[in-house]
């Protein structure tokens, strides 16, 4: 009531044009805020894109060395039975990098801004805790997977060009190489695999790490790991099993069941092997996502209470 009457007392000339403008600006403003919050994360944590790029460069360097060596030693240049092997390996390396970067990022996500007191600056701006936490969660769940895929594909193209050059220099036809490697399909599979096995499936683990990063004054890693180790330890003592440890571990490394029916870890096999319907109907996926949402909600609430440490 008070607010309304106060608003009435303000000069009507001022308040009238503001009201509709404020309403219409709400939606684009939200996305602008979200966009800039994510930009903030990327400039604060440059390892998000520097680390995958660095690994890709190293992998390319290694590949070019072995390819050049392959000019003289035929058997090295191409394994005709399994030409995609180096591509799979390098993709696997990129995914591993993604996991490592995500874990380190999440453990610092809500801790860094408290440690350097900049949380007082961030909180002085009209950005809600929910937007901030969602922007931070989007890094391991959306930004890093997409970035990993993009860098991996670019890297694989360069690898393909390199191989082609080597094959040409060796005087062989590149047709075999290009027909054996269905590149577009490989890229789609990679995108599918990364988004399912490395974003949706480990989401509860990343969100747990993010939540924990907002809690302790120091040693976020210990706080994140100890409860998990304790549960695993109790389970081992009580039931002599390792279900919980296996569960968390498989989530983290992206060993999702039913992503594909292929026995290979990296489904670069034909499209027929992938099984999105099976994956989406896994109860484990939905339980995990529900847990992830709960952890994020808790992190939003926690950030409201937190100040500098």
């Amino acid at each position: 009531m008070n607010t309304q009457s106060n608003a009435m007392h303000e000069s009507p000339l001022d308040s009238q044009p503001i009201a509709p403008a404020a309403l219409s600006e709400t939606r684009p403003m939200y996305w602008s805020t979200m966009y800039w919050s994510i930009r903030r994360e990327l400039s604060e944590n440059r390892s998000i894109y520097v680390a995958p790029l660095a690994v890709a460069v190293v992998a390319l360097f290694g590949f070019s060395l072995s390819s050049i060596a392959g000019i003289w030693e035929q058997q090295l240049s191409l394994n005709p039975a399994h030409p995609q092997a180096p591509y799979e390996m390098s993709a696997g390396l990129m995914m591993l990098t993604g996991i490592v970067v995500s874990v380190f990022y999440c453990l610092d996500a809500l801790h860094g801004e408290r440690r350097d007191r900049s949380i007082l600056f961030w909180k002085s701006l009209p950005v809600s805790d929910a937007t901030t936490v969602l922007a931070k969660a989007s890094i391991p769940l959306i930004i890093l997977p997409l970035l990993t895929v993009a860098i991996t594909i670019a890297m694989q193209w360069l690898m393909l060009l390199l191989s082609s050059a080597v094959v040409l220099v060796s005087g062989l036809s590149i047709a075999t190489l290009w027909t054996k490697l269905s590149f577009l399909r490989m890229s789609w599979l990679l995108l599918y695999h990364v988004l399912t096995a490395h974003a949706l499936w480990p989401a509860p683990v990343y969100c747990w790490l993010l939540l924990v990063s907002g809690w302790p004054r120091r040693a976020t890693f210990l706080w994140a790991a100890l409860p998990l180790l304790a549960i695993a330890g109790v389970e081992q003592i009580a039931f002599h099993t390792w279900h919980f440890a296996t569960l968390v571990g498989s989530r983290l490394i992206g060993a999702a069941p039913a992503v594909s029916t292929s026995p290979d870890m990296f489904p670069t096999d034909p499209m027929t092997h992938i099984a999105p319907a099976d994956f989406l109907s896994t109860p484990g996926l939905w339980i995990g996502l529900a847990l992830a949402a709960a952890f994020l909600a808790a992190a939003v609430r926690l950030r409201r209470y937190q100040g500098p440490i």
Binding site: H9, Y35, K123, P126, S128
Partner: protein, 306 residues
Amino acid sequence: MTVIEAHGLRKSFGPTIALDGVDLHIEEGRILGLIGPNGAGKTTALNAILGLTPYQGELRVLGRDPWTERDRLMRDVSFIADVAVLPRWARVSHLLDYVAGVHPRFDRAKAEGFLAKTTIHRASRVRELSKGMVTQLHLALVMAIDAKLLVLDEPTLGLDILFRKQFYDSLLNDYFDRNRTIIVATHQVEEIEHILTDVMFIDRGRVVFNRSMEDLESRYLEVMVRPEQAAAARALKPMDERQAIGGSILLFDLKLDGTDRRQLDGQNLDRQRLAALGDVRTPSIADLFVAVLTNKQAGPTQGAAR
């Protein structure tokens, strides 16, 4: 328009009571100085106003509940919490981009204009700037926001006197107008005394003194009394007495419980009467602060009378 309205604001950290029933009523267009000893509850009060800490009691800032609506409130409120809160990894240009991206009332051209008057480079990172430059940068960002309330908590801590003076000068000349309200919490009272319209003392979580500057100037007098007249002056019940070269300085409250004053000896205590005892002048806020706080701590009866 009322900017801040609080009733019975309470906050405790375990056994420590930081705010013990604070009532506030702050109108638009004021510059309030919030003064108190270390640990008096200044920062806690400001944090409650800014939605940074939960509290008990009733609090409305610009008609909003700061704890549940912080992000909305921050469209109309700016604050500088401390000198060192700008992210050290950020470049000046990053910060301008970011604030322009998230704040609907940020005028980037204005901020660039303020920065042009300093030696801060757009490409510098915050960690490469000196303490004074970081404060200039933060002030430039904040002054470019068209906010209704600006809260400053020890904004000039650790800065040299030139920077401090410049800080408050630009605040007064380039920012303040009758539609804005500024709250400053600081220990360096003497430097902000001339810009304040209101002053509030906080001690042990309570507001112990709350006056406008006009009120303060018409009500409190300080008299430099020579030793031979000290006894006569003391009979008029000064609030406080301190020694100076060539005599003592006595502080009087002219209006303090008007009736009590007259009962003293049937005569009104006024400027003329005090002038007969020595040189009369308006006390500084710092002296008044010391007087109010030492009296309050001296005994509960005196405190209650006040």
